[in-house]
């Protein structure tokens, strides 16, 4: 049973079958780890592409919940991801100003677009609104 686990509220609302984690990116990883321990397969890699735990406050991961079966690849991926996040400083959503936070949320959603589409989890194509860019005053 496919499910998105995310602390990105905007993305949560735009996705089918999503579980919202009201917390930090590490909390999302720990939630996914619990699911893997009790039996789930991770479909999108738990680590972000390029952005470190002290930069990107949002994390979104797609899992296939399958109680009872511990998938080794998923376990190895989630445990090393938690290890990376625990050995780094974590930036929480509230540590950023609203506009910057919205940009990070937008990119987090955009990086999941391809995978959410592949697994048929998109309900609202816009996924997540992006705040407008201040134009340079002449």
């Amino acid at each position: 049973m496919l499910r998105l686990i995310t602390n990105n509220a905007g993305l949560h609302d735009s996705a089918k079958s999503s579980e919202y984690v009201d917390g930090s990116s590490l909390d999302v990883l720990i939630c996914v780890r619990g699911l893997v321990h009790s039996g789930s397969i991770i479909l999108t890699h738990p680590l972000c592409g390029n952005l470190r735990p002290n930069h990107q406050p949002f994390r979104s991961i797609i899992v296939d919940v399958k109680p009872g079966y511990v998938d080794l690849d998923s376990l190895s991926a989630i445990e090393s991801a938690v290890n990376v996040y625990q050995s780094a400083e974590i930036i929480a959503p509230k540590d950023l100003d609203a506009l910057t936070r919205a940009d990070y949320a937008y990119i987090d959603a955009e990086l999941m677009r391809e995978s959410l589409g592949r697994y048929g989890l998109i309900r609202d194509e816009r996924l997540c609104d992006a705040p407008s860019l201040r134009v340079k005053e002449v």
């Binding site: 321990h37 009790s38 511990v70 080794l72 376990l75």
Partner: protein, 76 residues
């Protein structure tokens, strides 16, 4: 940790994820039930759980008494 103990004493590693045990260098391995409760099963009655646990511990003792030359997983 299991490897450091093995340098001085025979040790049997009881853990759920066998490949990890092999990677960290355990030689005598007994697979257990689940990560959060390796030697128990909350869905069973206390008596059933203890019997299950006893079976696994006896298998561990058997492993300690078995001569081996390489990494061995004791499944019964």
């Amino acid at each position: 940790m299991v490897k450091e103990i093995e340098r001085k004493l025979p040790v049997v590693h009881m853990c759920t994820i066998v490949p990890i045990s092999q990677t960290v260098g355990a030689n005598r391995i007994v697979p257990t039930i689940a990560i959060p409760h390796p030697l128990g099963d909350p869905s069973r009655t206390p008596e059933e759980e203890k019997a299950l646990r006893r079976g696994l511990v006896e298998r561990a003792l058997k492993a300690l008494q078995t001569e081996i030359t390489e990494q061995t997983v004791f499944t019964e």
